[in-house]
């Protein structure tokens, strides 16, 4: 595996042109910090008033390595319009996948044409997994601030 495979075009693109970067006024916010490497993210989450607590908008701000920033961008892009409980399930499944669990349900296949797949390869660098997961665990905390939205996996 070459370095170009790790930092491929998809991650480079999300790092250089992050989606949903910025703040949302009046949103639920949560900050994540990795004291080991200094990566920081702040997640902004707006949920709808309906029973499903659909994600109306999700943005992020922060500073960190390319993997951390690209991961936050990929995350915010794929959860727009999703019910909060589903997002929680996705976060949990992705966390398990990154921590090495095989055959995790609810995620794109390893050969799928999906930006999320670009993050799977970071598993090869165990110390960088926390860079990938920072935005995800932080978003989960934001969702859990609205207890009734968190669903079964909360």
């Amino acid at each position: 595996m070459s370095y170009r495979d790790v930092f491929g075009e998809i991650l480079a693109d999300h790092h250089e042109s992050p989606r949903n970067y910025g703040e949302i006024q009046g949103a639920i916010t949560e900050e994540g910090y990795n004291p080991l490497c200094g990566d920081k993210v702040k997640m902004f989450l707006k949920l709808s008033e309906n029973a499903e607590h659909t994600v109306e908008a999700c943005k992020f701000e922060g500073e960190g390595c390319s993997i951390c920033m690209a991961s936050a961008s990929i995350l915010t892009e794929r959860i727009q319009g999703q019910p909060a409980a589903k997002v929680n399930e996705l976060i949990e499944a992705f966390r398990e996948k990154m921590q090495g669990k095989e055959d995790v349900a609810g995620l794109p296949a390893d050969d799928a044409d999906d930006d999320l797949v670009a993050l799977y390869g970071i598993k090869r660098f165990p110390v960088r997994i926390k860079c990938v997961l920072l935005a995800w665990t932080t978003l989960k905390k934001a969702i859990n601030k609205v207890p009734e939205s968190a669903g079964e996996t909360a």
């Binding site: 790790v6 250089e16 960088r128």
Partner: protein, 419 residues
């Protein structure tokens, strides 16, 4: 310093990603020569027994081997009394011992405890917390823009007549070497007790107490000078150590235990409760022998050559920001760099893919990194077994990284990671 020395270190033959292993994280821990590994193995295979206890042959052999290292260390740092050499589990414990025992007994409300902004957490947090417990003032000596101690800041803190000055011999982030002897002389005149963190310093040059001036305590670790992990040294002036209360209680540190009170063993045992890391201490003895055989002055001269070489090469790369002074004088071969547009962790992974091991992060020096508004850097730290060719590999990889991470034209192909 040549290929012969590299042969003493079996690990240097390793390959990483099919490329030669270039180890540039010596400030975190050094590698061990075969002689150190053999000495520890010999203890476990031939004379493993506890020390200071048994009357049988093996226990005596183990005790003799263990205690002989105390003498080696005393000679290594040029002090007369072995009673002043205390074995701990590392620099961190050595400093905590002084803060907890000496600090607890001597610092009073309103006293000043001084550190510098370049301290490692191990020589910062114990003093900060002592100051908090005692309601003492905690003062931090600030730095110049090139991250040396600021003379104005030294004067400011000197005027406060600190009870304790805790200072490192050299910075683990910038490689800046502090003028300990002149500082110690000045602070001694205002009555300070001077604690020196030599975790980094001990590996780069001839660290002896006579050359450090009127300092009172010196802390360092075995694993930075090619010895095993898990062993540290605290040297302290006998008059101070005698008066200090024990730091931990248990076996070996007592002479008599009664139902209601106990009496403490003599120095250095008073501060060595419990079974020590016997194999580790024996390994440290072999490491010190190894250092003495190579010659510390020779090591220092060679490392100075590496320092000058790397500084010269880095100077030519526009995108590399080097922390600290750009002159080789009073600088150890430790280089913290930041590259425009490349995060330290991305850079470290990039280097790792080429077999080059460096440290990325805050280097356990938050107060320094925050002051520089720099959350993370990539640090390459050299030892006497590193070569100029390795320095070239490092510098070239820095150049490559900036090209690699520079904005790339977008293309729909090459979709990233192949799992």
């Amino acid at each position: 310093m040549n290929e012969l020395i590299r042969r003493d270190f079996p690990i240097l033959d390793r390959k990483i990603e099919n490329k030669p292993f270039v180890y540039l994280d010596n400030a975190a821990t050094s590698q061990r020569p075969k002689k150190v590994i053999d000495a520890m193995m010999k203890y476990y295979v031939h004379y493993n027994a506890n020390v200071h206890r048994g009357v049988y042959h093996l226990s005596q052999e183990a005790t003799d081997a263990f205690e002989s290292v105390r003498g080696k260390i005393a000679r290594f740092i040029a002090v007369a009394s072995e009673r002043e050499i205390i074995f701990t589990k590392g620099t961190t414990e050595s400093i905590n011992l002084v803060a907890a025992s000496y600090g607890e007994a001597n610092v009073k409300e309103g006293d000043v405890i001084a550190v510098t902004r370049m301290e490692h957490h191990a020589n910062f947090v114990p003093w900060q917390q002592l100051a908090k417990r005692k309601k003492a003032r905690f003062e931090i000596i600030g730095l110049t823009p090139d991250l040396r101690l600021d003379p104005k800041e030294i004067d400011r803190v000197l005027a406060l007549k600190p009870k304790i000055l805790a200072i490192s011999l050299l910075s683990n982030v910038t490689g800046v070497v502090n003028p300990i002897a002149s500082l110690a002389t000045r602070f001694k005149m205002v009555g300070s007790t001077i604690v020196v963190d030599a975790a980094q310093g001990i590996a780069h040059g001839e660290v002896t107490i006579d050359r450090l001036g009127p300092v009172d305590f010196l802390a360092f670790s075995s694993h930075k000078i090619c010895g095993p992990t898990g062993v540290g040294i605290l040297w302290g002036r006998e008059a101070l150590l005698e008066k200090m209360p024990p730091y931990q209680f248990g076996g070996n540190m007592i002479t008599h235990v009664g139902d209601l009170d106990s009496e403490w063993n003599e120095l250095p045992h008073k501060f060595e409760a419990g079974t020590p890391d016997i194999a580790g201490v024996i390994g440290l003895g072999a490491a010190i022998d190894y250092f003495e055989t190579l010659g510390r002055v020779r090591i220092e001269e060679y490392e100075h050559k590496i320092t000058s070489y790397v500084l010269q090469k880095i100077k030519d790369i526009a995108c590399v920001k080097l922390l600290g002074p750009r002159e080789a004088l009073h600088r150890a071969p430790i280089f913290s760099v930041a590259i425009d547009g490349v995060h330290a962790h991305d850079l470290a992974t990039f280097l790792d893919m080429q077999g080059i091991s460096v440290r990325a992060g805050h280097h356990c020096a938050h107060p320094l990194m925050f002051a520089m508004k720099c959350p993370a850097t990539c640090r390459a730290s050299f030892s006497f077994y590193n070569t100029l060719e390795e320095a070239d590999l490092f510098v070239n990889a820095l150049k490559e990284s900036q090209k690699f991470f520079a904005k790339k034209p977008k293309s729909p192909e090459n979709g990233g990671v192949k799992v």
